[in-house]
């Protein structure tokens, strides 16, 4: 049973009217490549991506409850490495078992499942032909003391191909000390993945303590995440996974806090290209994915008190901003399977809801 538009609006709460009626002016809908059932033909097929990449992209677009819509809902579970096994799976021990993760993705109606070499490899023969698998090839190892933040390769692109994956995924911490090395490593891995017929997904993150200023965390600012997206599509990511923006003005804030020039930006973008309305900030992220030629999927964030409402709100903002879907992990797998499936289905219902349009 699909959520109705009125049920979705009630989940949005007092923000419903503002989010549902907003129209992007600075970067209007007509200027972007809007997701749709024909997206691969209309947009991606014009690129240099090999036929096998197009086939795999089309398979993920034609899987799950969102099949044939041009939108996607992906279950990502790499937090066993990025955080820890206990931090991730204590709330739902079924996902300590790789099969529990893949089953949740299938039962949850997802287009695909993204996880580690170990997780997907452990069940690949049973599931690689049943649901598109995205193998995350690098991680931040989090057991070293003191903890550090650096993405290192955990395997090779060929391993992902051998297990039948449709795609490889990788993280870059833009703005961090290791960013230059990570950009080169991931660019090379993506080039090989394309050669082997797999599409590429970039977890396009920012990481630098200088981005936290006077109580504001600019790791999720529209301007900085937008530029991270722009770097990500430059190394030929086919899908950009980005945190939903919840603030703006990262460039000037860093300059003010450090007293030094930082990067380059046009003041015109603030308020002219986009406002601080959440739909407009997502639109700026989409613009930085070559005006939507590369799909933007937003992440769901940590599990909390109001997961269903939060996830639905993020999905509505992503869809209205011109995004291609959601990648929601902790909110889905850190609870009993039935509730996880309901949450994933609620996200998908947003993209199935005809009344929720691109702004």
């Amino acid at each position: 049973m699909l959520l109705s538009v009125s049920q979705i609006e009630s989940l949005l709460g007092p923000d419903a009217k503002s989010i549902m009626s907003f129209e992007c002016k600075g970067l209007p809908k007509a200027k972007i490549n809007v997701p749709g059932p024909d997206f691969t033909d209309r947009v991606t097929s014009l690129s240099d991506r090999p036929n096998q990449v197009l086939r795999n992209l089309e398979w993920i677009h034609r899987t799950g409850r969102l099949a044939g819509t041009g939108y996607m809902s992906i279950l990502p579970v790499d937090q066993g490495i990025e955080h820890s096994g206990s931090a991730s799976f204590a709330p739902n021990i079924d996902c300590f078992d790789p099969e529990g993760i893949v089953k949740l993705a299938i039962e949850g109606g997802c287009n695909g499942v993204a996880s580690t070499f170990g997780v997907l490899g452990a069940v690949a023969r049973r599931y690689a032909h049943k649901i598109p698998m995205i193998v995350k090839i690098n991680h931040n190892e989090f057991l070293g003391y003191p903890n550090t933040y650096d993405q290192i390769m955990f395997g090779k692109v060929e391993q992902a191909f051998d297990m039948g994956a449709v795609a490889v995924g990788a993280t870059i911490y833009f703005g961090s000390e290791g960013a230059h090395r990570q950009i080169v490593e991931v660019a090379e891995a993506f080039q090989l993945a394309h050669q082997m017929g797999m599409f590429t997904v970039l977890w396009c993150y920012l990481r630098n303590s200088a981005f936290k200023i006077e109580g504001v965390d600019y790791h999720t600012s529209a301007d900085l995440t937008g530029q991270a997206n722009h770097l990500g599509v430059t190394i030929q990511a086919d899908i950009i996974k980005q945190k939903a923006p919840d603030c703006d003005g990262g460039f000037p804030a860093v300059e003010k806090a450090t007293g030094k020039s930082y990067s380059k930006y046009s003041k015109k973008m603030y308020g002219t290209l986009y406002t601080t309305h959440p739909v407009d900030m997502v639109r700026y992220q989409v613009a930085n994915c070559y005006m939507g030629r590369i799909g933007l999927i937003n992440s769901g964030g940590a599990s909390g008190q109001n997961d269903l409402a939060d996830a639905v709100k993020t999905a509505v903002i992503n869809k209205r901003g011109g995004g291609m879907g959601m990648i929601s992990g902790r909110k889905a797998f850190q609870k009993p399977t039935k509730e996880g499936v309901e949450l994933l289905n609620a996200i998908q219902d947003v993209y199935l809801c005809k009344e929720i349009t691109v702004a």
């Binding site: 078992d97 099969e99 490899g121 452990a122 690949a124 023969r125 049973r126 690689a128």
Partner: protein, 113 residues
Amino acid sequence: MPLSVSQIESMLGPDARSLVTFECKGLPKAKTHVPGSASVDRIGACRRDDITFRGFYEYNSGSRLCSRYCAVPDCNCVAIDQVFQAKLENHHNGHNESGCEPTTEHNQSSRRL
């Protein structure tokens, strides 16, 4: 002659009762993949790599813990990957000498390879 449970318990000393009778509650047995004679089919068969899989099989059948998964002279494993033929034949010969009996279960798992 394997050790009896009482011999094992005597080696455990004062911890014997606690170790032998303990039951996991938070992560119960039913949620885990318990080792057994069908481990390769039940769990290894989910893995991607046939060669690794075959290696597991050889390891399991080559040890003293081999109970039901012994090799047979006309095993299909050999036909599937010639690279491993000599190695597998050696393995089979060793097992025939040790007196293991071929089983239907083994043949089924071999065909899946």
